[in-house]
Symmetry: C2
Subunit: 658 residues, 2 copies
């Protein structure tokens, strides 16, 4: 679909407002339901707020997608005019303006639950001096209980025990407003970002009294190091000198961060919570405040508790407000995935490094979530679900690998564009759309070169998924839907099917068919298209055709020994922690004792190191010379990884059973 | 002994320093051992510290008394000169200068344990708007565990589990130094006391953002009231107006007090501690900071934990340092009592009300502790030792009663002075000393009129004890040592001794003898003189004389059925929670089943409401018409209170025993 460029031209003329980029409102016209969440948390902060004040969330009925757009209040008029002109006069539109202030906290928590459940790599640990600044956390399907520390003007601390049960267990008046307010009084600097800039250049030790200022060194008897702050602003009590703005701002930042850190730790210990998430405008996108909070938490818990931040923390309130408004069709009955094409990524390392990017993102920030009509769950056969990491290489941490793959995907872009155009021979404007796809994906690749953490850990899977999302964005849902296929290993598969019989095999297939003899087989294929991978729908047809030729397949289908199940994914890769719930049920019912994962995307880029509780086969041909080299092989090397779980539970169980 | 007035005259001349009142050094000349504890906790605070910086503690071998004197560093030269001239050249003096900085915290805690154990009514709850601002706590013999929150320049939080076991479990850099330092930067006021004065006049709501500033009222959903501070200094972030010094100081005070209060609560909950003591220069003598801390603790614990303060909190470090230096004869093997004559009381309600008194006390502050060579313990027969309150009427709370008794003691002063002079007919200078006694005691009474909380809860007992201490101070240890006695109820006692027999009776006698038949008797009399009460020594002689006349007493003494024991007290009243340990042992060994308490001091002013676990008799004749009226009787009414404990354990036990 084309972006509504006419909106931009109309309003630039008569309003003299610099309009947001086209893409901001591009999907709004097709939306049937949307909510405007006017977020004005702190009224007197209106004028200089660095926080985004207005957010709009849209759910399109057709594509089942949630859009969240944050923009500064300067654009509210543009937005409202657009809504009036294009949306309100349509009979079918439903407009919800969320103004209920009573449940700000519950919106925040509803939003937090939503992103934690639905967005992989949502939470991260911030480590300023580490090789990779952002260490993203694997999504534990059991997100509860956790502590949410929201640092707005003040601090609210909530314990969240379940979807419906949370309690504000504490709070503090020493928060972002205190940094801002006291900072303004001390430095005459009125802007929050400028105060942080000042703080980043200051030396707190010239204002704070340190342990060594009192004891001449460490206070060994109590285990206090000399550099520990004994008294914030302790030196300014009696000294007659002037203190620099930078030093005072830094001291203030330390004072507030340490205080919040200690409170968070104490509440976490008191309620026995190990997961502590931080949010609010004090945190949002500010590496310095994330760093000081992280430092404080490490100090007070001696490393036992980690400070966790959220990539979409700034959307929690809006998401929660939308979910509350949409409770008639509860989005929690579905699963959701982040659409990389429609979402701005996590912001740059520091405002100093990429001031332009920050400024832009400071104006608009987007999040799009695609809805799946099915719930995604863990593969029940995973050995340790909580430590399962789908991806084999973390490109965020592995710089040479990142370099290679970014180059590789950029290099392959021309070919993909050609294939996309070729997939729609009857549509003359496909070339224009394909060119837009090229620009968008190339921009994504460039962004990821400098901000590899933009969508969580960068992986071959996320690069593939981003490409799929961008293709979808410009209406190329399945460039491989037409033959000839790029890879067609159907014959190879036919050869394979002479292995020793198992009771039940689960096969995560990518781009090939299947044949079986004697063993129950569960064929798990993609729910939606990705690359040239077979989809569940295609596999249904394919299997019926084979059944017509092959009596084994025929009887297998008839006797229910061959089952086709969708895996819940539309990715060329495979995340065993986000599987279709129906698949997980089949796996349990059939007492599956063999899992076969094959293809580079599913068995090499992801799951290469995954350990399962039953026997497994990971099969792939390395079709990339760099990767083959990296794995110590040659191009087209075969990977045939047969693994038996350490305790061999299935075999031992067999011995016990006569 | 005469105060060393020559010191004053000498040094006023050549040093041009206003010298401390005579009494400060009055006992130093007789001291055989003393420690100078140079307390310079925060070095850069030297110039404007409102804290006392030098303290001197003295232990006289003869009287077994500990003296602690705090004075501002302006007087250190005077003090050192005095020491050099009068003490150092004496061979027998031992001087200890405590400069070891390693164990400041352990000194503090050692001192804290000492005052909690040895000084009744040491700890108090501060209630600004209550009838009596100070609510003193009954001394629980089991003082552990507790939390000590020391608010100096920073905050240290220690968990104290036993005499030897403590741990610094937390701390914060937001303490007194932060109030002082940030306050100085914001208001240009450099003096701590002035900052508090400013704060006492300010309105924090003009600087702080309240819940109602954000939500228009309370945030009912989360149970937050509208007046709750949402963000300290939140209004100063964007407002362009000037804020008054008073308002900023008040906001700062609230911010810091609330923060410390919350931290203290969390540590208390985390370690399951219900007793939380606050100290440090932020607290010391400042009603405003005690109030804000108390308010904060009440808020965060919903009243479950009370903020406790200590009357002698400012001496903890000095006491601890002295005790450490004196470990060769561990003072913990003795019991100690506060000498009301030699101790400055707790300071006035507010600096505004009594500026002169505060100024004086800001210069000198004294604590004297008398040593008893015996350990004091609870009477084992107390029903509920932890809730036992010796005194019948709390004059701190009962204003009419206070008025009456203060008048009464002042009215009786002439008679006491006459009796004191008469008790030393051979000493011509007794009249001069007696006059000094009169002035001192009258001054105490005047002080107590305005500061009834000066030595803990004001009671008839404390008024009597203060008089005894003042008499002792001027060498009238026993004004009643000569006859005629004011009251001599010896004959009355003889009549009494025809009651029904008990196995063993414990009698807390005041001013009469005893006769017994058939029942074992333990006669508990004062260890030292008080009024005309019989002392243990006197009772020994008296009993022998009676034995010569009375065969029952004679055989009782011979067969060990009549035992004379000292009670550990030198007061006309009786505190059953501070009894000689030997007496407690005898009570247990003899399986005492009857306690007889008699006399107004022991059975009316104190213990009238005390419940015991065995049968008891409280006997007195009301010899005061006001009191008789108060109790609903007439002058010389007889009180004969026979009480059997609710569960009647002794009788039931008797039934079970054949």
């Amino acid at each position: 679909m084309a972006p509504p460029s006419h909106v931009a031209s109309n309003h630039t003329m008569d309003k003299s407002i610099t309009l947001p980029p086209d893409e901001i409102f591009r999907n709004l016209e097709n939306a049937k339901r949307f909510a405007i969440d006017i977020v004005a948390k702190v009224r007197s902060f209106d004028h200089t707020a660095s926080d985004k004040l207005y957010e709009i969330s849209v759910q399109e009925e057709v594509t089942a997608r949630l859009h969240f757009i944050k923009f500064e209040n300067a654009y509210i008029e543009t937005c409202l005019d657009f809504i009036k002109d294009h949306l309100v006069n349509t009979e079918t539109k439903v407009i919800k303006a969320t103004v209920d202030k009573e449940d700000e906290m519950s919106c925040l928590i509803k939003g937090c639950n939503f992103v934690l459940k639905n967005i992989p790599h949502e939470a991260f640990v911030y480590a300023k001096h580490a090789d990779s600044e952002f260490r993203f956390q694997t999504t534990d399907p059991d997100i509860f209980p956790y502590l949410l520390v929201n640092i707005g003007s003040g601090v609210s601390i909530a314990k969240v025990e379940s979807e419906d049960k949370f309690e504000r267990i504490g709070g503090s008046s020493i928060g972002g407003g205190t940094f801002w307010g006291l900072g303004a009084l001390l430095t005459k600097t009125k802007r929050f970002d400028e105060l942080l800039q000042l703080a980043s250049k200051g030396q707190h030790s010239s204002v704070d009294m340190l342990v060594k200022d009192i004891y001449g060194g460490s206070y060994g008897y109590l285990g206090l190091t000399g550099d520990l702050i004994a008294s914030s602003f302790g030196k300014s009590a009696t000294a007659d000198k002037e203190f620099s703005k930078e030093d005072m701002a830094k001291s203030l930042l330390h004072m507030i961060s340490n205080d919040i850190g200690q409170l968070a730790c104490l509440y976490a210990r008191l309620h026995n919570l190990s997961r502590v998430y931080f949010g609010g405008f004090f945190i949002r996108g500010h590496p310095l405040t994330m760093h000081t909070i992280t430092y404080s938490i490490n100090f007070f818990t001696k490393g036992e508790v980690q400070a966790l931040f959220l990539r979409h923390e700034g959307y929690l309130g809006a998401i929660g407000a939308f979910l509350k408004g949409a409770e008639e069709d509860n989005p929690n009955q579905y699963s959701w995935g982040e659409n990389y094409a429609g979402s701005s990524g996590l912001m740059s390392v520091s405002p100093d490094m990429y001031p332009m990017q920050r400024a832009r993102s400071g104006t608009f920030d987007m999040l799009e979530m695609d809805r799946l009509d099915r719930q995604l769950v863990n593969l029940p056969l995973l050995q340790e679900p909580s430590s399962y990491i789908p991806d084999t290489v973390d490109l965020t941490e592995d710089a040479p690998a990142r370099e290679y793959w970014l180059f590789c995907f950029e290099d392959a872009l021309d070919g993909v564009v050609k294939r996309a155009v070729a997939s729609q021979p009857d549509m003359p404007e496909a070339a224009v759309r394909a060119e837009k796809f090229r620009q968008k994906y190339r921009h994504k690749l460039q962004t990821l070169r400098y901000q590899p953490f933009a969508y969580g850990s960068l992986t071959v899977r996320s690069l593939l998924d981003t490409r799929e999302h961008c293709l979808n964005e410009f209406n190329f849902p399945d460039p491989y839907s037409k033959r000839p296929w790029l890879v067609d290993s159907y014959d190879q598969w036919l050869e394979r099917l002479k292995g020793p019989p198992h009771k039940c095999a689960l096969l995560f297939v990518d781009n090939s068919g299947l044949l079986s003899r004697g063993t129950e087989v569960v064929l798990a294929s993609n729910s939606g298209p990705a690359l040239n991978d077979v989809t569940n729908g295609e596999l249904q047809i394919l299997t019926e055709r084979i059944a017509a030729m092959d009596p084994v397949i025929q009887s297998g289908l008839r006797d229910d020994r061959l089952t086709l199940v969708q895996n819940g994914s539309s990715s060329p890769c495979l995340d065993l922690s986000r599987l279709d719930k129906a698949l997980a049920m089949v796996v349990r019912e059939r007492k599956t004792d063999l899992v076969i994962i094959e293809g580079m995307g599913r068995a090499i880029h992801t799951n290469y190191f995954a350990t399962l509780s039953c026997e497994s086969l990971k099969l792939a041909v390395i079709k990339n010379s760099w990767l083959a080299d990296r794995l110590g092989g040659k191009l087209f090397s075969v990977v045939f990884k047969y693994e038996v779980p350490a305790g061999k539970p299935s075999q031992e169980a067999a011995v016990l059973t006569p």
